[in-house]
Symmetry: C2
Subunit: 454 residues, 2 copies
């Protein structure tokens, strides 16, 4: 038997562990799931004969090193900042490692050590980052192999609610860490390239400069820019790229309404609100509006944001019950972002029988023999319920497949890396197809960034 | 002779040094001016017999300690972050110290040492902070002395251009560090109290939630909120205050136009613009607008900000020449804020014969014998030219007066402090009157925060 240690048994590990357990007989795998909560780890493996659950505190050196030493490969599904403890042990005991998280400087600094020991440290193996890298590099490599030169790359991902469970005016529910949704876009201007021009969008404009995207069979989406588009120029080796833009997808209309929270300051996470515990939702809203006791909070709100009475954004706000004077915030020393998150979770939490959806959209523009071409590639995955979500599937399956491919020596290139090598993306994308994770490609006329100008 | 060491001979020291030189015979003063630039220090003292200029690098321990040891009192007009080096020496050699800067934690930590040695460390002795503290505490103490209870305190200061030199559409010129003007309001939400309610304004709304103020003889002004209003509750001892608001004054219309720069992201100081050196003013503006080569930068700008053709803000923007394709930025690796500052300095620099203006406006609301009262107090000071500015006068004179009062043992309370003690503000405010710095007080009906509700 080959021993796989999975650290963490949170929301995103349902499919990951199911995949490994399903393969445990044929592939002779023994799965150890370690979590701070032993009961959580036990629950996820059930009574499977090829698995056991252990209590694992990543800061308890003895139990951590023992578990790592006894494994052949380690999958860390902990929050990103904890990976480094695990990674150092993997170097010390000579174990491969897989994560779904962005490569931090700390992890990158282990590159030489991993290479010297012949260890594969494969990161960004989830959906975004993960499947986006693999599906993009597959097309980019194909374009390059036939002599094409990349001139445009745009890539969009959204974690959304499936059409069959889409029953609120925002067309949105939380399918991932709600906190990340509330503070999305903060921390600096978004920066990208459009037809050779660098463009910058500050946070307060981010949700007003969206693009529209049409996905066959699923209708229209919008996307706002991610902060970090330019780093993909190096990562994907696209030196001469003219347009480089990465974004986050929402249903059309989400961003315009979300921008209201941004404008009022309700997404701020840098200070705490006085007496937040005892304030009502209405008090919270009022604290961002001018003092004027003879005017209603509603009128002050409409006036400040210039919202017409018949504007749909108003219905979106009312749906969230933000003007309720009786619902209490109930959070001590909370930031505006924490309070807003609490209010949104009342409305945007997936019910047990509801389904989520992952949508991905890539545009590849290239030049070949003096002509310009474009390929659009889209992927949609729908979840089964609130445990076997599309998010857990698209994050967990590639991680699990990568771990198995490393054990089976299909993936052998050592060092700290992300899934941009053919050795990694080819077998995994093929296997993901078997699980219904499929990209639709089509050739479209090259429109460049601004189709209206062609 | 008593030896006064003045460290720094920048813009704000013209009146300070003139005052001390003028008093040097009658008060037996000898003034030593130390500056990194010996020629600058020499220029400011001229050939006055009771003064000398020395080269002084605050990080050169030998020359710094020697100069401090030879003085009876030290005035530090250095940028705030350098005071601590001087302050430590003042403790070591037993010298009093005066600055015009906010008390930092480092300076505050010397409080006990200063007290133990009987040294006066008087800070925030300029105009704002400085004259605002003194003029406010004078009224607050008077109200308290007759048994009144403070319920409202609003205080506004503006460094502006004098009416006779007010010849641009913004009604504004730089009279102080332009950088501070460009990044004003950044770093966190503004927080204040209105009729017992805490209110918060994020940066992107700060310049849209102004108040109007009328100053007799000078017309209408507007004010946007400062970040730190609440700290004055402790500093001035106003425990039960219901309304507490501090703001920065501009001429009406400035903030609405300024908000355009904020909205587009042009005041951001956290990242650098690609190839900033070679871009034109027009390129700079365009980098914050959508890519659309068939549309003019002007139209994209108007559309993004929803600016009507006949809106005066458009004329304000054109006056700054921001759409000029030929003027180059010429700054390497510059942030948006640095580039904007450069563009503004083309238009907003005070000419040698032009005059600046300091305006201050306090509102004091109080309760006495069950009735509510209000006192409004205003001060306007006009400069003489671009050297003897109102800014230099209102910053420099109180600093100089305080130094002399300490030498003459009129101010004796030891420790790190700001000018809120009667011992400090009474003689200095009286003397400032002689120099034309005068507050007009009037009793007005108590209106509370929102006059329309009365």
């Amino acid at each position: 038997m080959r021993n796989i240690l999975v650290i963490g048994s949170g929301k995103s590990t349902s499919y990951l562990i199911k995949y490994l357990l399903d393969k445990s007989e044929s592939e002779r795998l023994y799965i150890t799931v370690g979590d701070l909560s032993l009961s959580k780890a036990k629950k996820i493996i059930g009574d499977h004969p090829n698995a056991n659950a252990i209590p694992l505190d990543v800061f308890d050196v003895t139990s951590r090193t023992e578990a790592i030493e006894n494994s052949d490969i380690v999958i860390s599904m902990l929050p990103s900042r904890y990976h480094i403890e695990v990674a150092k042990d993997c170097i010390a005991y000579g174990k491969h490692m897989v994560t779904a998280s962005y490569v931090t400087e700390q992890i990158q600094s282990l590159n030489n050590a991993a290479k010297n020991k012949g260890l594969v440290f494969l990161n960004e193996m989830g959906v975004d980052p993960g499947i986006d890298h693999m599906s993009a590099m597959k097309v980019i490599d194909r374009i390059r192999d036939k002599g094409g030169k990349m001139i445009l790359f745009e890539s969009f991902t959204g974690g959304l609610v499936a059409p069959e469970s889409d029953n609120n005016l925002w067309n949105y529910k939380f399918t991932w860490n709600p906190r990340n949704v509330v503070v999305a876009g903060q921390g600096g201007a978004a920066k990208f390239l459009q037809e050779g021009k660098y463009k910058y969008i500050p946070y307060n404009r981010l949700f007003r400069r969206t693009e529209f995207l049409e996905v066959e069979g699923y209708g229209r989406f919008e996307a706002y820019a991610n902060r970090d588009s330019l780093k993909y120029q190096d990562e994907y080796g696209m030196k001469d790229i003219q347009t480089l833009y990465r974004g986050t997808m929402r249903r059309v209309g989400f961003s315009r309404a979300w921008n209201i929270f941004v404008t009022l300051g309700m997404t701020d996470d840098d200070y705490t609100i006085e007496d937040s515990e005892n304030m009502s939702y209405r008090d919270f809203v009022n604290s961002f509006l001018a003092y004027s006791p003879t005017d209603s909070v509603e009128l002050k709100f409409r006036h400040a944001l210039k919202i017409d009475q018949d504007d749909i954004v108003w219905d979106k706000l009312e749906e969230l019950d933000i003007f309720n004077p009786n619902k209490k915030v109930g959070l001590k020393k909370a930031t505006p972002a924490q309070i807003l998150q609490k209010i949104l979770m009342d409305s945007w939490t997936l019910e047990p029988d509801e389904k989520d959806m992952i949508v991905m959209y890539h545009k590849f523009g290239y030049e070949l023999d003096g002509k310009k071409y474009q390929i659009d590639s889209t992927m949609v995955t729908i979840g089964e319920d609130d445990t076997y979500t599309a998010m857990a599937k698209t994050v967990g399956l590639p991680v699990a497949m990568a771990a198995l491919d490393i054990l089976n020596e299909k993936i052998t290139t050592p060092g700290v890396q992300i899934p941009i090598l053919k050795e990694v993306y080819e077998p995994i994308l093929n296997e993901l197809e078997e699980y219904g994770i499929h990209f639709n490609e089509k050739e479209v006329p090259y429109l460049g960034y601004n189709p209206l100008n062609q």
